[in-house]
């Protein structure tokens, strides 16, 4: 099923090297698992989603052809099962992202997390935010006294936006290293160091390994 010829959008050299070794379904599974476990939204895997959709179409064609040609039912059902699984992965991946957008839409739209969304997701986030703002505006904010009507701030005297739900980045996640990372600093002060060896399981704060997840050195499980 692997087709590694398309350009890889995130452009990380390490990912490129790994593409030859593993199939798109594996990659999709990994993207899905990371997305599922990460508290914040991750980079949209544009090229991977595109390839997965092409392969689903191809597979659908194959299954139909098999049914038409009277190929053995068992073989057909195996292909069908493969197809179902890939479709579930793809749908669930996209769904997880939408649900994160639903949850943190305002936070996402005012930080650089915005660039991690696909074009369609950005449209969705924009619409969602408008709808949510309208709803809160007409049911709460417009009925409050002047100075307390902002959706972002508690009152006019707040200096920062203190009413925006944000993902909890210091939550703990289970993660698995893909290669040797070596001695890794867990906090800013450098008090806590951990030696991350290849293929080992860890439970760490998401915040401290965020960078490793983003560049693909560690997988969430």
């Amino acid at each position: 099923m692997a087709s590694g010829s398309e350009p890889w959008s995130s452009g990380v050299a390490e990912e490129d090297a790994l593409i030859g070794e593993t199939t798109d379904v594996e990659l999709l599974k990994r993207a899905w698992r990371n997305e599922k476990a990460a508290p914040e939204i991750l980079q949209f895997q544009a090229a991977l989603v595109l390839r997965a959709r092409e392969q689903i179409q191809l597979l659908e064609g194959t299954v139909e052809e098999f049914v038409g040609n009277g190929v053995d039912d068992l073989a057909v059902s195996l292909y069908q099962m493969d197809l179902d699984r890939t479709q579930f992965l793809l749908r669930s991946y996209l769904r997880l992202r939408l649900q994160k957008i639903e949850k943190y839409m305002i936070h996402i739209s005012k930080t650089n997390l915005w660039n991690r969304l696909s074009e369609q997701e950005q449209n969705f986030a924009k619409r969602c935010t408008d709808i949510m703002e309208k709803h809160l505006e007409q049911s709460v904010l417009s009925r409050l006294p002047f100075g307390y009507q902002s959706i972002l701030k508690q009152s006019i005297s707040s200096e920062e936006d203190d009413m925006v739900p944000e993902p909890q980045l210091d939550t703990f996640v289970f993660c698995k290293t893909r290669g040797d990372v070596g001695a890794f600093q867990l906090d800013d002060t450098g008090d806590e160091m951990v030696d991350l060896v290849a293929d080992d399981l860890y439970v760490l704060r998401y915040k401290s390994i965020k960078g490793l997840v983003e560049n693909g050195q560690i997988d969430l499980v």
Partner: protein
């Protein structure tokens, strides 16, 4: 006591099971809004009083100033509670689109305020337009598939249906063995259920 009603609202949220909606409590909600406006009236009148005495609001720390602070903080707290109430309900309402579908049953609609009803419709439309941009239905395949075929029980008379190359009569209470992809659309409409017996 200031702020008690607002915490009652949140108490209702907390008491409800996750994912379940309680009836929109417009009485308490309106009362809290009223409380907010009363706080504001008090707040403004204290400020006016200080201005009349030619005191600088930024630096003066007398009883009027601290009174005003209490009104301000109570107001801000009430706002937080009101927003939390609305926002958490809105989150539950969002999740209904995924769990139930586009059309909400009567008993749930009755629990929503007017604005919430609108919100559900608009939010639902936003999901639909995302799915049509992608040309992919995301509301099926909610659970990971185990087997391409499942056993289902028909809950309502559906009649003759052609599924692929096979004509099948789906009468009420009958049990069939179908392709999961075929059955899913009926299950999401509530016409069938997975038969695990």
């Amino acid at each position: 006591m200031y702020g008690r009603r607002a915490s009652q609202l949140l108490g209702e949220l907390a008491a409800a099971e996750t994912g379940q909606l309680t009836v929109y409590n417009s009485d308490t909600f309106d009362q809290v809004i009223k409380e907010c406006n009363e706080h504001n009236v008090q707040l403004q009148s204290l400020f006016r009083k200080m201005e009349e005495q030619n005191l600088d609001i930024q630096t003066t720390r007398n009883e009027d100033y601290f009174g005003a602070v209490i009104h301000h903080l109570s107001l801000a707290r009430n706002k937080r509670c009101l927003m939390a109430y609305m926002y958490n309900r809105a989150e539950t309402i969002q999740s209904l689109r995924w769990k139930i579908g586009k059309k909400l049953p009567q008993e749930i609609q009755e629990k929503l305020s007017f604005s919430e009803g609108e919100y559900f419709k608009n939010h639902s439309a936003a999901i639909d337009s995302y799915m049509s941009e992608l040309d992919l239905d995301l509301t099926v395949d909610m659970i990971p598939p185990k087997d391409p075929y499942i056993q289902i029980r028909v809950l309502d008379d559906i009649g003759e249906v052609s599924l692929g190359d096979l004509e099948i009569s789906l009468t009420r209470h009958s049990v069939h063995f179908l392709r999961r992809t075929d059955a899913e659309q009926f299950i999401s409409q509530g016409l069938m259920e997975e038969f695990l017996g």
